[in-house]
Subunit: 240 residues, 2 copies
Amino acid sequence: MTEDRGPAKKPPMRDVLAEAAFALFMERGFERTTVDDIVASAGVGRRSFFRYFPSKEDAVFPDHERCLADMTAFLEAAGEGDPVEAVCDAARLVLRMYAEKPEFSVQRYGLTREVPGLRTYELSVVRRYERTMAGYLERRWAGAPDAALRAEVIAASVVAAHNNGLRSWLRSGGRGDAGAEVDRALELVRAVWGSAAERPPAPAAEDEVIVMIAPKGAPMWRVVQRVEAALDEERGTTER
Amino acid sequence: MTEDRGPAKKPPMRDVLAEAAFALFMERGFERTTVDDIVASAGVGRRSFFRYFPSKEDAVFPDHERCLADMTAFLEAAGEGDPVEAVCDAARLVLRMYAEKPEFSVQRYGLTREVPGLRTYELSVVRRYERTMAGYLERRWAGAPDAALRAEVIAASVVAAHNNGLRSWLRSGGRGDAGAEVDRALELVRAVWGSAAERPPAPAAEDEVIVMIAPKGAPMWRVVQRVEAALDEERGTTER
């Protein structure tokens, strides 16, 4: 999609349209606002709208296409590190998009909860992020047993964790640290799945072992956190 | 929703309509089939259709509402066992619905992949299953730290694993054992999260410990599987 950013002083037409559309959606409601209303408010022709947005729904979420493209590029450029860390970082790109415009994001969250068509639209977008992440993980694990299964389960976990953190922040009215909420949520996924990925084989010989002692009643995710912590500690002292 | 099952010999009107609709969708395509075509084929009036189905999309998935109700009832009746096991079993209710009608399920899978509106519809339904499971988990863990976060991440994992197994089966043309595919997929989730839930505190005193030895390079999910296996073994010998 090409974007006519126009001369330096004028805001891009695409932004003008998205802003005009959103103002009307908030004022009159999404259903009661027509594309004709939007183009009249923005002072352009009807065809201009469809040049930038395939549908009215797309104008509510003007940044997702860019963010999806950014995520794809980010993952294509990701190095040889832990792939689960990479998809967690990829999810943070989505958060950043929301956090850049707190007021808009919070208002849109309210609008989306009221309009079933927008919720459905959002589900489709979320699904595209999830598939982008799963595709990356599967490529990284190509040939490994259950690569597709693990990729899909982990991508779904990352998306769910991200959305939990994002929603907390949106519900708080966009106050507080969105990044901290999402980091905390993603940490749960990383603790469980982070090394499920492919711990770089170099540092430890195959027959080196970890010995872990934990209370029998401990929940499994705590056990995992302890193993992880122990491994990190070991690495810190012996390999750095 | 009340269902007029009619006299014993005649198939229920709802089924007649769904079958007529599906036959037309396969023959002419989803978009090109109107509700008028469907009611003409079924030999009933237009209002009968909307009495049973809010939209054309709903007629493609006639069993999800019942399955969602079954899942809710199943989880309400679930006992004090591992909540993660309970949601895995709840997911199997969805599988059973697909596996009951292999030919229909496989044909519909093809149709759904061709019609974006049906894919979106399906995403919404899947989301409702996910929320049903997450709601149950959150209630079971009420008051525990991160209850909502864990509930959402695990419900998303269960759904992703279930769908991976279901899709394998659908892609194979509905041949083979759908249950086995899904069991294998859910096992990955159960191994990692099953005890993350709330291992019943009774059997082991707080200060009893498990000692686990694993290769340092082992992926975390293998470590978890071993811890799980060790715990199960212990329980088998000491508590049963």
